[in-house]
């Protein structure tokens, strides 16, 4: 059992722990970009061959390679990328005609919006369904939700996305439910008022969020159900009930916090899935974000874009894992970081 500590010391512990984790992330991320760099250059072709076009004279091609720095030895290119990375501009995107920092600056907020909303959907919906199932264990509702969750869990996101598009495009549905199936905003977005714009974005978010998050929400529901069932069998819950507390307070007030523990740690597990999912979902729903940037960048051999995108996805996953571990400590008083 941990000795009693002052809140101040505990705070320092968390800081020290966070600092250590961040330091550990440096070699990890360096490894990720190094591996990406090697894989990219091992793959045949380069940006100039990827766009091959018989009209481009060889001397112009040579010049493009020179301008992109592709004529230099690989270690030099690697160090050069690292340098440009530390100065924060990530190089120049050949396929987008712009500096990579500007390209990422446009795409990243879109992806964060989509994956952020999906994350909320995953946990709120997942937990809610899981709780309902646990409370009504073995009821018809529980059985139906179990089958539904298992089915959704096994469905690939892109297929679900295409089915959703077909569904809302069917005349029988689109007559009463007019949901956008592609893009982030309507064509008339510029002429809308503030609330109109928000509403427009919300409507555009519905389908991609569902396609991106539903499978993971189903997974969370399974965990939540199991975890909740375990908790409500414990003595202190019986005590709470014996005190005459209402079922609502027993479940939400006493059981939920403990049942959430294993679920919170899922955050670290689902973040990579979520970002990986954006690559496909952003293509299906024409969402102008990082996933599509990465996908197009790989096809075009746009090295600086791919490097920057992999680094950012890597950093987001590392950050997500850290947040998940810190949250774990926040909800579980038994877990303390930074003490030896």
């Amino acid at each position: 059992m941990a000795p009693a500590r002052s809140p101040l010391r505990a705070g320092q512990g968390v800081l020290r722990y966070t600092g250590r984790r961040l330091l550990e992330a440096v070699p990890l991320l360096l490894g990720i970009v190094t591996l990406t760099f090697i894989l990219l250059h091992v793959a045949p072709g380069d940006p100039t061959t990827a766009y091959f076009n018989p009209n481009i004279p060889p001397d112009v091609l040579e010049q493009m390679r020179r301008n992109l720095g592709l004529d230099r030895p690989l270690p030099v290119q690697y160090l050069d990328w690292l340098r440009s990375f530390f100065t924060g501009h990530f190089g120049y995107s050949f396929s987008q005609h712009r500096p990579v920092a500007a390209v990422i600056g446009d795409a990243l907020p879109n992806t964060l919006l989509l994956s952020g909303v999906s994350l909320v959907l995953i946990f709120v919906l997942g937990c809610a369904v899981g709780i309902v199932q646990a409370v009504r264990q073995y009821s018809a509702l529980d059985q139906v939700l179990t089958v539904g969750a298992l089915t959704l869990y096994s469905v690939p996101g892109f297929w679900l996305g295409l089915m959703l598009i077909l569904l809302v495009s069917a005349p029988a549905v689109s007559s009463w439910l007019h949901l956008p199936i592609s893009g982030m905003t309507s064509i008339g977005y510029d002429s809308m008022g503030t609330w109109g714009r928000i509403w427009d974005q919300v409507r555009h978010l519905v389908l991609p969020t569902i396609a991106l998050g539903l499978a993971s929400a189903a997974g969370v529901a399974r965990y939540m159900r199991g975890s909740m069932l375990e908790v409500i069998r414990q003595d202190y819950i019986r005590t709470a009930r014996a005190k005459g507390l209402g079922e609502r307070e027993v479940i939400l007030g006493h059981a939920l916090r403990n049942a959430l523990l294993p679920v919170v740690s899922l955050l670290g597990l689902y973040l990579p899935l979520l970002f990986g999912g954006t690559v496909v979902i952003e293509v299906v729903f024409s969402w102008p974000g990082m996933g599509r940037l990465l996908y197009d960048g790989i096809l075009a051999r746009d090295y600086p874009v791919v490097m920057a995108a992999t680094f950012l996805f890597g950093a987001l996953v590392v950050a997500g894992n850290l947040v998940s571990d810190l949250l774990y400590a926040a909800v579980d008083p038994r877990v303390r970081y930074g003490e030896r």
Binding site: A50, I56, V283
Partner: protein, 559 residues
């Protein structure tokens, strides 16, 4: 200098004006231009609709790829970007006619010296950039100097290989020194004139990242730039000051290009009315689009052909009889129907029906497995060990085919494999992503037996890079086949100024290649564009999808 008119293409009938005034104007214009007249007249075909009823509305074009930027000087070149540059945002000096001759556009007319070494363009004086500055001869000279600048990797520099120097005569007259060749104006139909007052101070090294190409273009075309959201859309609005003589302000208020990478999503958006036009309806969705009464389909021949390149450097494929046999063993018509829904024609050689020199008497090699077998027998390939695969000197007839990771190409490869298996040839398809495939086939060590690809022919045909014996080291010499006698023919093609002579040379070239079959030319591909039934004035051909965008209009019910 004695002036010799070069633009001598036949006038394409009477102008089709939308109104009497426009038609009259166009007649005057045609007369003023004398022999240079053409089909530049404005208006659509539905002459009964008054102009006032045509104006207004937004057209949303769905395309599968992002238009990265609209500065033609910045690589890589992009097909849709060049369409927008040429027909939407900017004005080239000349436009291509339906016979691929040249028509006045930003240049009102031009003179060519008797010895064809000097060209003088007389520019329109009623064209302005979207920021109000007039378009002048200095802009033309600036564009030319940038295109020739060795420090700028301008992808289409070859267009101006034989253009040597420029001088500004006055505000609307510019003179060039050139070395004579045929279709010398082609570059000026592809590359638009750029604003010197905007780009003049941008250093060469900063040009690629300059906002001009991606977020702040200043143009002089029928539409003006409104906004660009990366990966999502480009928005343009009608240019109210576009010269009346060229048709004036476009009918549409706005034109939007939206990126919808997934073709199923794009077809769904078209059906829902969220998109008015989808550039590339896949063969599998054609029936659905055709059966929808609110939509229509425009198909037209492109200069794109699908082919299999045989690496004739390898002994297995060095014999023309063998290559001919492989072509005849494939049921190309069945492939065309199965994977492209019949969008195209089985090819009869390197020159497709889109080109004026195409001979309608040309017939593709027939699908004839028996004759193919006889040819293989004659070349010494027989199945001596009874394993179903032909062999010669103990070596079985097996080879690998590189295939891009595109569904319909993979389907073609599988059908080829089955067809060739029937004549005792074993083909092994290997899928590569496009960049890998492109890297492999341009590799000097030529690490492949054969590959499958589609290719867009340039509108001005000069195929020496693919076949000339004196260009054996060119990365585009995929097959490695050449004939000395053909070199002379191909060398004469760019020099022939007489159209009949040029036609004769082009046909001789095409027939020689067809005989040797260094490629199996699979099919000449048509493109299918899906659009709203209420969108009028859309005419598309090999010159591009957006060529008539200025006179597109929406029926009031479709706005």
């Amino acid at each position: 200098m004695r002036v010799l008119g070069r633009c001598r293409s036949p006038a394409a009938g009477s102008p089709r004006g939308g109104s009497a005034a426009r038609a009259a104007l166009a007649v005057v214009l045609a007369a003023a231009l004398a022999a240079c007249g053409g089909e530049g007249a404005p208006g659509g075909s539905a002459g009964s609709v008054p102009d006032s009823a045509r104006r207004g509305g937004t057209v949303v074009i769905a395309g599968q790829t992002e238009i990265p930027g609209v500065d033609p000087l910045v690589p890589p070149p992009d097909y849709m970007a060049s369409q927008v540059e040429r027909y939407v945002l900017f004005m080239p000096l000349v436009q291509l006619g339906s016979d691929l001759g040249f028509r006045p556009w930003l240049a009102r007319s031009w003179d060519v010296s008797e010895d064809s070494t000097a060209v003088v363009f007389h520019l329109r004086d009623d064209v302005a950039w979207s920021d109000g500055e007039p378009v002048t001869a200095r802009d033309v000279a600036f564009t030319f100097r940038k295109a020739k600048d060795p420090d700028i990797p301008f992808p289409n520099r070859a267009y101006f290989d034989r253009w040597d120097s420029v001088s500004v005569v006055d505000a609307h007259t510019v003179r060039f020194r050139i070395r004579p060749y045929s279709q010398f104006l082609f570059g000026w139909s592809q590359v638009p004139v750029l604003p010197r007052h905007v780009l003049g101070d941008v250093p060469d090294s900063a040009l690629a990242g300059d906002p001009f190409g991606t977020s702040a273009p200043v143009g002089d075309g029928p539409f003006r730039f409104v906004r660009h959201d990366q990966g999502d859309r480009w928005v343009f609005e009608a240019n109210p000051d576009f010269p009346e003589e060229l048709g004036g302000r476009p009918w549409l208020d706005r034109l939007v290009y939206r990126v919808i990478p997934d073709e199923a999503t794009a077809v769904a958006e078209l059906a829902r009315g969220e998109a008015d036009l989808f550039m590339n309806v896949p063969p599998g969705a054609l029936d659905r689009v055709r059966s929808d009464s609110s939509l229509k389909v425009v198909t037209f021949p492109t200069s794109t052909y699908a082919f299999v390149a045989w690496n004739t450097r390898r002994p297995l494929l060095s014999d023309a009889r063998v290559r001919r046999a492989l072509t005849m063993a494939m049921d190309r018509e069945a492939m065309l129907q199965a994977v492209r829904g019949g969008l195209g024609r089985v090819s009869a050689g390197p020159l497709g029906p889109w080109h004026w020199a195409y001979d309608t008497a040309w017939k593709p090699l027939p699908y004839d497995p028996d004759s193919a077998g006889a040819l293989l027998d004659a070349a010494g390939w027989r199945d001596t060990d009874g394993d179903g695969i032909r062999d010669r000197h103990g070596r079985p007839f097996r080879f690998t085919l590189l295939v891009p990771d595109v569904r319909i190409r993979q389907d073609i490869a599988v059908m080829m494999q089955a067809d060739l298996r029937k004549v005792g040839v074993y083909l092994e398809p290997r899928t590569r992503d496009f960049a890998s495939l492109a890297g492999a086939i341009q590799d000097p060590s030529r690490p492949y037996d054969a590959f499958l690809l589609s290719w867009s022919e340039d509108l001005v045909i000069d195929d020496r890079d693919y076949w000339a014996c004196d260009r054996r080291e060119n990365p585009l010499q995929f097959s490695g086949w050449c004939e000395e006698t053909l070199d002379a023919v191909m060398d004469s093609i760019p020099r022939a100024t007489d159209r009949a002579e040029k036609r004769r040379l082009l046909r001789e070239y095409a027939e020689t290649v067809q005989r040797a079959q260094p490629y199996t030319f699979l099919f000449d591909e048509d493109r299918a564009v899906g659009l709203r039934a209420g969108l009028e004035g859309v005419e598309m051909d090999v010159r591009g999808e957006l060529r008539t965008v200025r006179s597109w209009w929406l029926r009031p019910g479709a706005r």
